[in-house]
């Protein structure tokens, strides 16, 4: 079922196959959750957005409201954005900022990606770097300096800054890939959580 194209998935759902709905969820849940988390900065709200988005998408597919099945991905994205917009309007009306929303609250969506494996892989990556390359990464990702600003301050070419970043990222991928292979780490919350809205 996972190998079906989006139009085939739409047809399968319209024909009443529940495994096709599960496959649809498996294919897009992580993306919806990521975007919702990034925008709402609240894990709880992101889970709600994900549930509401899939509810609306499935209802639309079942009701044959999806005019272009090959445009399923843009349709899901659009639906996610609509749900998020409604969330922000509710927050605005209730004047409840994300920081005061129900737990769990994340200050930044990137905290969601920070776990033990990431810290371990980053530590191994840093250990392989020269001090100057560590400075480059710190200035770029922590001090928020641009490539050109780093090049000017460090006296190195902008191409060198890009090379340092790409090499460090490549090393991180390798280390993280090895760590993630041991117990297979789930991607961004692709599983349904108990207590969330059922589809």
């Amino acid at each position: 079922m996972s190998t079906l194209t989006d139009p085939d998935l739409v047809l399968s759902i319209q024909s009443g196959r529940s495994d096709a709905e599960a496959a649809l969820y498996q294919r897009y849940a992580a993306k919806v959750f990521y975007l919702a988390l990034r925008e709402s900065r609240s894990r709880h709200d992101a889970e709600d957005v994900r549930a509401e988005t899939f509810l609306r998408v499935l209802q639309a597919i079942r009701a044959n409201s999806l005019r272009q099945p090959e445009a399923l991905a843009p349709f899901i994205l659009g639906t996610t954005r609509n749900v998020l917009r409604e969330l922000f309007e509710r927050r605005k009306q209730a004047q409840v900022p994300a920081e005061n929303a129900q737990e769990p609250i994340v200050i930044s969506h990137e905290d969601y990606f920070l776990d033990r494996e990431v810290r371990d892989a980053i530590g191994r990556t840093i250990a392989k770097l020269k001090p100057r390359d560590r400075d480059v990464l710190r200035m770029h990702f922590y001090e928020e300096l641009s490539t050109e600003e780093i090049a000017g301050r460090s006296g190195i070419a902008p191409e060198r800054v890009r090379l340092v970043k790409s090499r460090a990222l490549k090393r991180f991928r390798e280390f993280y890939g090895r760590l993630a292979e041991k117990p297979k780490l789930p991607s961004v919350d692709t599983k349904r959580r108990e207590g969330t809205t059922s589809l």
Binding site: Y34, L114, I122, P131, S187
Partner: protein, 247 residues
């Protein structure tokens, strides 16, 4: 949005860092919703950036005072300087040890050896002088062959003694008899005793050889008496007449 554009313009990193404009951000979101590969790379980049920022907060990406300064050569300069400094330190320690410890010790040994060498040289010169004198005396030693005669009118045996002679050898052929040890007495012309030589024994030529200082035998006539001493009793064996002349 094309993959080449995403790669060349670092779209994923810019999206993570919120550096894209509204249109670019919307376009990229539409792309990764349809592209599993780009979404996977987006997740990796999110983890990487989150990890790097976390490491910076925990001072794992240590910022030292030189971080904002150009440091093109620091990577090789530091170990090169350390190696040079270490070599210089070793050289300084070795030089100090040689100069303050070994050199005085060697100077003392050298002075001692020089003193010994001077003493040996002086000793050698003295020996050389003595040897030279001895060799010169041996080379020029005059020999007086003493012989007995029944003719009382016969002239005495003449021996020409060089002016620089140190000793004179008196050579007497002796017929083997009962005596093994002899005495030789030298008298001047006025019968005054000049020298006595005891404990003479025959040599391999059955002769007696007595060495007498040349200064005791000045030019003139001498009477020499040879007597047997051992085994006793002693008795006169022969008398000789000797005349010393200068050349």
């Amino acid at each position: 949005m094309m993959h080449s554009q995403i790669e060349a313009e670092e779209i994923i990193e810019k999206y993570v860092r919120n550096e894209l404009g509204p249109e670019e951000r919307k376009a990229f979101e539409e792309h990764f919703f349809s592209c599993d590969d780009c979404f996977h790379r987006l997740e990796e980049t999110e983890r990487f950036v989150a990890g790097i920022r976390d490491a910076a907060r925990r001072a794992l990406l240590s910022a030292d005072e030189t971080s904002g300064q150009p440091e093109k050569h620091l990577s090789w300069w530091s170990p090169a300087f350390a190696a040079t400094a270490f070599a210089a330190l070793i050289l300084a320690v070795a030089s100090s040890w040689l100069y303050f410890v070994q050199m005085p010790k060697l100077r003392g040994q050298l002075a001692e050896l020089a003193t010994q060498a001077r003493a040996a040289e002086q000793s050698r010169d003295a020996l050389k002088h003595q040897l030279g004198a001895s060799l010169r005396a041996e080379g020029n030693v005059p020999l007086a062959m003493l012989e007995t005669t029944r003719d009382v009118q016969a002239p005495p045996i003449e021996t020409i003694v060089p002016a620089d002679a140190v000793r004179i050898i008196l050579w007497i052929d002796v017929v083997p008899g009962r005596y093994q040890v002899y005495r030789l007495q030298i008298f001047g012309a006025d019968a005054n005793p000049i020298a006595t030589i005891d404990h003479l024994r025959r040599n391999s030529y059955n002769a007696l050889a007595a060495s007498v200082p040349a200064e005791q035998l000045q030019p003139g006539d001498f009477r020499i008496r040879l007597s047997g001493e051992e085994p006793a009793p002693a008795s006169l064996v022969a008398e000789y007449r000797l005349r010393i002349r200068r050349p």
